[in-house]
């Protein structure tokens, strides 16, 4: 109970204090001469946000990039060593000849590409390749289907498909870990996937450990598609409802069937919306982390960049390499910044 009380008090104090900050800022500025006050007034509104963004977002980002060129304790400069160690692996002197015969590509005398890290990059690439596209397809399909049933059914269907949006990554992982769960032979099956697989004549599999063809990574991707499909559906559905009927009727008069109407008339008109959903999910998927942590802890070749950052720092206490990994992620995401700014500019122009 004292916890509850403390919680309540801190909520009230916290909120009151931040109101006080704005009041105080305005009060201090109002002590200035009238002309100056009018000119400097924006500071009273912007300062708290600006400080927060600079101190908690921008400056730490710069610090991370700096640390990526420093040693584990951030004491000495090590140049690009962290990056070299992330991308490449040292080969023991007695193995060098053997590796050369295998045709491995050498960097310097004794370093070859780090297969593990290449797998991580490949995983990130697969996530980016599969999830945004699949989510948009699921969203468009469900949006179109739900447009073809009565309003009550439409509402119920949409609610149920949209519902995962409220679920945390951790709880979603629990739900799906149970769905994929494996029990050793001899005990009754509790995982639905294995039960269905057995029904089709297969044998129960420990799905999340199967990395052949990256099967387990694809199973993790399904969780995100499940979580985000509803978002795509809701946004795309709204766009479809805004398609002017005249264009549909005209197509029908010309004898187009429903597939033609969909692909030639509706889809082109909602394409902008589809792309914006695609980009939003793309940005999210680049940073994917929680699902991997909760479901496989990055084992069985499922690791991705954001998870590697977590592991390097919180499990191995390697500040330098952790900073380098996340810097690589930022560099890979940076082009999307440009895309984001461009999209916003376009929206501003339409305003």
């Amino acid at each position: 109970m004292s916890d509850l009380f403390f919680g309540l008090v801190s909520i009230v104090v916290g909120v009151a204090a931040s109101y006080g900050v704005f009041w105080l800022l305005n009060f201090l500025l109002s002590l200035l001469p009238e002309r100056l006050y009018r000119k400097a007034n924006w500071l009273a509104f912007l300062l708290p946000a600006a400080l927060l963004v600079i101190i908690v977002l921008v400056a730490p980002l710069v610090q991370t990039v700096i640390w990526s060129f420093k040693s584990d304790n951030a004491k000495e400069w090590v140049g690009t060593q962290n990056y070299v160690e992330i991308f490449t692996d040292e080969v023991k002197p007695d193995k060098v000849e053997a590796k050369k015969e295998e045709g491995a590509v050498f960097f310097a005398d004794n370093r070859i590409l780090d297969g593990r890290f290449m797998n991580i990059l490949l995983n990130n690439f697969l996530w980016v390749l599969v999830v945004p596209a699949a989510t948009v397809v699921v969203g468009t399909a469900t949006a179109t289907l739900s447009n073809q049933v009565g309003p009550t059914r439409e509402r119920v269907f949409k609610s149920l498909i949209f519902m995962p949006m409220a679920i945390s990554f951790v709880a979603a992982s629990t739900i799906w870990a149970y769905f994929y769960s494996y029990v050793p032979p001899g005990r009754p099956e509790v995982g639905l996937l294995n039960a269905l697989f057995k029904l089709l004549g297969g044998e129960a599999q420990p799905w999340l450990t199967l990395d052949k063809g990256r099967l387990n990574s694809f199973l993790l991707m399904i969780v995100i598609i499940w979580l985000q499909g509803g978002y795509a559906m809701v946004v795309i559905s709204a766009a479809i409802k805004n398609v002017p009927t005249e264009t549909l009727e005209a197509a029908q008069l010309d004898g187009a069937n429903s597939w033609q109407v969909f692909f030639r008339v509706i889809l082109p008109q909602v394409w902008g919306t589809v792309m914006s959903v695609f980009v939003t999910i793309l940005i999210m998927v680049m940073k994917i982390f929680d699902i991997v942590l909760a479901m496989t802890r990055g084992n069985f070749t499922t690791s991705v960049l954001a998870f590697e950052w977590y592991k390097e720092f919180f499990e191995n206490s390697n500040l330098g390499p952790a900073s380098a990994v996340v810097t690589i992620l930022v560099v890979l995401i940076a082009p999307l910044m440009w895309l984001q700014i461009r999209t916003v500019r376009q929206q501003e122009a339409l305003r």
Partner: protein, 289 residues
């Protein structure tokens, strides 16, 4: 009913069936865990959940797992989650609304540049800032003897900061639609910007603020990473405890299952009761990457 709907409603039977199948697939994983959380432990070990679904009236149901979970620390975690979430929803909105006001109605040097910077920051992964912030807080703790990590306050600060770009962006978008004449008239009447903001712009922006608040609430409630780093074990939130439980599911799925649904109750209530506003918010672009 709108016209596109009317156009499509001719072919409804096949679509209904397809949608039914889709909804069944979509809900099955959740349903499975929900049913398991409501069954006695010894039974769930030997019979799969769909057997209970097939015989709902003869199979025994129990809330035992929920009682275990609540007694085993989930109650504390619920309190912690609320204490993290409520201020981490209100504070960033207040700060962002002020900033959005400046970006919309006031003129200052570098406005365009700062706004572009905010838009760019929406893309940056939060991981890139977390370690330095953590280190900074530890440094403050050592130097000034102010406890920050392991308290709610650190989570409020970090969540507020990460909400800034998107919150300012969506609130500014909304404020741009407010009639400028009204604000000008108030200025002529001698009102200060401070008064204009609190008495005029803030109340008029309620729809946008409310819809962003829902998203921020769900985001913070469901967050694991920031809670793990800045609040940690001391005031473990529900996602934190759930992840620990998930690591030990060898001891039976009941506790994890019950814990999951305890953590889901409030987000689901928010979702189903405020769905209309959520949709509106999504269409206005408030989705966090």
């Amino acid at each position: 009913m709108n016209a596109v709907n009317h156009f499509f409603r001719k072919t409804s039977f096949g679509s209904t069936v397809t949608l039914l199948i889709l909804v069944a697939i979509w809900s099955a994983p959740t349903l499975g865990l929900l049913i398991t959380s409501l069954r006695p432990r010894d039974l769930a070990e030997v019979s799969p959940w769909w057997e209970a679904l097939a015989a709902p009236f003869t199979t025994p149901w129990t809330l035992e797992a929920y009682q275990n979970s609540l007694a085993g620390g989930m109650t504390d975690s619920l309190v912690n989650t609320i204490a993290v979430t409520v201020p981490a929803t209100i504070l960033p909105l207040m700060i962002a609304a002020n900033a959005a006001f400046a970006f919309t109605f006031l003129n200052f040097k570098g406005k365009e540049f700062f706004f572009a910077l905010l838009v760019a920051l929406m893309v940056i992964p939060l991981q890139s800032s977390l370690i330095p912030v953590l280190r900074g807080m530890v440094w403050i703790q050592k130097t000034f003897d102010v406890e920050l990590t392991g308290t709610y306050i650190s989570a409020w600060i970090v969540h507020s900061a990460f909400a800034m770009p998107l919150a300012i962006y969506t609130l500014r978008n909304y404020m741009m639609t407010l009639p400028k004449e009204l604000i000008e008239a108030a200025t002529v009447d001698g009102a200060s910007y401070y008064e204009i903001f609190w008495k005029l712009v803030l109340p008029m922006s309620t729809p946008a603020i409310a819809s962003f608040a829902i998203f921020q609430f769900l985001w913070v409630w469901n967050d694991y990473l920031i809670a793990f780093i800045f609040v940690g074990e001391q005031k473990a939130v529900m996602t934190y405890r759930l992840l620990r439980l998930l690591g030990q599911y060898g001891e039976g799925w009941q506790d994890v299952a019950a814990g999951s649904f305890i953590s889901l109750i409030i987000p689901l209530i928010v979702f189903f009761s405020l769905q209309r506003f959520i949709v509106r918010g999504l269409l206005a672009g408030s989705v966090k990457g």
